[in-house]
Amino acid sequence: MQAKASNCGKLRILPPRKRASLITNAVTFDAATRHYGDVAAVAGVDCVIEAGSFVALVGASGSGKSTLLKMINALVEPSAGRVLVAGQDVTSLAPPQLRRRIGYVFQGVGLFPHMNLAENIAIGPRLHGERLSGARIAELLQLVELDADMASRMPDELSGGQRQRIGVARALANDPQLLLMDEPFGALDPITRDALGERVRALHCNLGLTTIMVTHDMAEALLLADRVLVMDAGKIVADEIPAALLSGKGGDIAQSLVAVPRDQAARLASMEA
């Protein structure tokens, strides 16, 4: 079953310049394959991701979900097959050029420790010679719910959650249409994780992004995404909307992943009773 392009509802306010992109497919995998020696991390994935959708890539460790994500911004090169971004083969562009159009947030965050927050946020535009104004940096800080006066702080003064917020702000600084997130909330405490997840979801809608998020947490995928791809052994084994997964569709592997939060919820409910 094909997911709806988006369920952002009334929150969604698209800037006019981005409307055109909605009619194209944001990302297309065409028999995308990646081998490491004899091991196929990604074993021939065919998939189309529509512009404006929030897609979660779920699977166990080693299922190939991170590798598949990194093939989109050429951090991993395909061994065979093609990956298209907005209709363009990613290998046809110089990787820096490609990556500057794509926001990338990952578990390690990777803030540059020798730059203050403003410099960290402004690094993307700086790479092609653009200087971000103080107002724009303040705006980006506000998008991730941080005070504008934090701009001059250094990364080591921040908590883990604040750091990942800066990571998100940095990823958005170049006005990308596509946001890739690799276990973005994996290292955060549950409360921070929940809040930041909601924030990202809101940004996805407000900015009209196409968001692809890798996570091993099915609950997070079900709550944030409007389409869930389940991966196992380098292949997509389920491709469903959250409601379908909750109603038992998607096969054994997907259902074993859905069972975990469902059982937890049931056990908690029975303890309350």
Partner: protein
């Protein structure tokens, strides 16, 4: 103590030369190591080879590394022409730069390898090109660690630069080597203190730069950098500010007689109105080549040394014929001038304590051959490699129980302490008489003659005033006078003279002034 301060403050020339040599070597080391480290960070093979090579270089003793550059540069003359200096600054610079390579390279590569992988992934993720990643992320994050490597390199280089003296480069090694040879410990101490103080100063300043980089306080780095730059500029000014061009450089090998004769020659030249500087502590082969390549103007060598080392001859045509042949050979090959013989010989001879000689009933080398299997022979570091040792050994079938090497000054102590039973003494050595040593006769004349010669470089041989000023020295010094002067410098306690004072006394005795 005042001697010490006088010696210390007399080192300004050596100090500035030392600073410039060390700074250049570290600079060259950095210039090579950093690009290599960048390359190594992109290729595991390059990394392995670069570190392997730098580690290999480090296992070569610094002294040997310095010496090795002489033949290397000599062979490179085929490519770069005869103008390529083989002694002095260039080989010292190259050897020390190689030595500085390892700590810089290792720290740079280690720093790069230990960068947070998350930060590197982010650099790629935001779309940095390779050069942007290097400039904006890798270099600033690795800088404090690279600086720590530069600090280590600086301390090593400043220490090892004292050895540059042996290949004819002025450094703070000059007083150390000169003091060691003449047993002038004040001079050794002054050289060590100056070199150690320089190393500590450099370490502190570079440490300041490192701290600035680590704490992201540019003011610290700038202050350190500015002080280092000022030091180098001051050294440049002192070194090249004066008109050194006109100075006559008198060389000396690494023993007392050479220091005295260099001062004697220098005194003659100063009396004739020349400005003089001394290049002390040269290795034997180094001294000859420094003279033929005009790096030094004058030095004293010995017929037997040139015969065996430079001319590669092992025959022994007799004293007069050997001299004539050498004069002709020098004129023909290098254009150097043999001004003449000073009048005494500093030949090898076998000597032992008088009481031991009597006890073992030794008078000649034939007698020695009989007793040799029970005896230990001591020689200077080059003796057992020399053809005359091989000649005399074969002529008399000498088979000693043990062969040991000693620095020339320590050979006589070894004889006293019994560490050696017989030594390869020098006939002009004052300690032969002072220590009451018996010199064994050489009935087969297997040991060649070692007439002291005044050697003048091809360029300076054209300087008629210089040649004229030195002519009075020819034939003027008998072996007794030389022994006395040598002993005055080599002896301990009262009456010990510096080479300069001994040279003055010798000049007076010879009626030269």
């Amino acid at each position: 103590m005042s001697d010490f301060w006088i010696a210390l403050f007399g080192l300004s020339d050596q100090l500035t030369a030392h600073i410039l040599l060390s700074a250049s070597a570290i600079g060259l080391g950095i210039a090579v190591a950093l690009p290599l480290a960048v390359w190594a960070s992109r290729s595991a093979t390059v990394s392995k080879f670069a570190l392997g090579f730098a580690s290999l270089v480090q296992t070569i003793p610094a002294l040997a590394l310095l010496a090795l550059f002489f033949p290397i540069l000599l062979s490179l003359r085929a490519v770069f022409g005869e103008g390529l200096p083989t002694l002095g600054f260039l080989p010292a610079l190259l050897a020390l730069a190689l030595y500085a390579l390892l700590p810089i390279l290792r720290n740079a590569i280690t720093a790069q390898a230990n960068l947070d992988p998350g930060v590197l992934e982010a650099a790629d993720g935001v779309g940095m090109t390779r050069s942007q990643k290097l400039r904006l992320v890798e270099a600033p994050l690795a800088a404090p660690f690279i600086m720590a490597g530069i600090r280590t390199a600086a301390v090593w280089t400043i220490g090892a630069a004292t050895l540059a003296t042996t290949i004819g480069q002025t450094s703070l090694g000059d007083p150390i080597f000169a003091g060691l040879q003449t047993q002038n410990w004040t001079l050794v101490l002054a050289g060590c203190v100056a070199s150690a103080a320089l190393a500590l100063t450099a370490d502190a300043l570079l440490g300041l730069i490192e701290r600035g980089l680590l704490m992201r306080k540019p003011a610290f780095s700038f202050a350190g950098l500015a002080t280092v730059a000022l030091g180098i500029i001051a050294a440049l000014f002192v070194q090249f500010g004066g008109n050194k061009e006109d100075r006559i450089v008198v060389g000396a090998k690494q023993f007392s007689e050479q220091y005295i004769l260099a001062r004697l020659i220098g005194g003659q030249l100063e009396d004739a109105g020349f400005a003089v500087e001394y290049r002390d502590g040269l290795g034997s082969a180094v001294a000859h080549n420094a003279m033929t390549s005009n790096d030094i103007d004058i030095y004293v060598d010995y017929t037997g040394t040139i015969w065996a080392n430079q001319m590669k001859r092992s025959d022994n045509p007799g004293r007069g014929a050997m001299y004539e042949e050498i004069v002709r050979w020098e004129t023909e090959t290098s254009g150097a001038m043999v001004l003449g013989r000073l009048g005494f010989e500093n030949a090898y001879a076998f000597a032992l304590r008088e009481d031991r000689a009597k006890q073992l009933e030794l008078e000649t080398l034939d007698d020695l051959a009989r007793a040799a299997p029970q005896l230990t022979v001591g020689g200077d570091p080059e003796f057992f490699e020399r053809p005359e040792w091989i000649a005399v050994r074969d002529a008399y079938s000498l088979r000693f129980d043990r062969e040991r090497n000693f620095a020339p000054t320590f050979m006589y102590n070894a004889l006293k302490s019994g560490e050696a039973d017989v030594i390869s003494a020098y006939t002009s050595d004052g300690r032969i008489a002072a220590d009451k040593l018996t010199v064994l006769r050489d009935p087969k004349e297997a040991l060649p003659s070692y007439d002291a010669l005044v050697m003048i470089s091809p360029e300076s041989s054209q300087n008629a005033a210089l040649v004229e000023a030195l002519k009075p020295l020819v034939g003027a010094i008998d072996v007794e006078a030389m022994r006395e002067a040598n002993f005055a410098v080599d002896r301990e306690g009262d009456g010990k003279l510096s080479p300069t004072d001994a040279a003055k006394e010798l000049a007076e005795k010879l009626g030269l002034n």
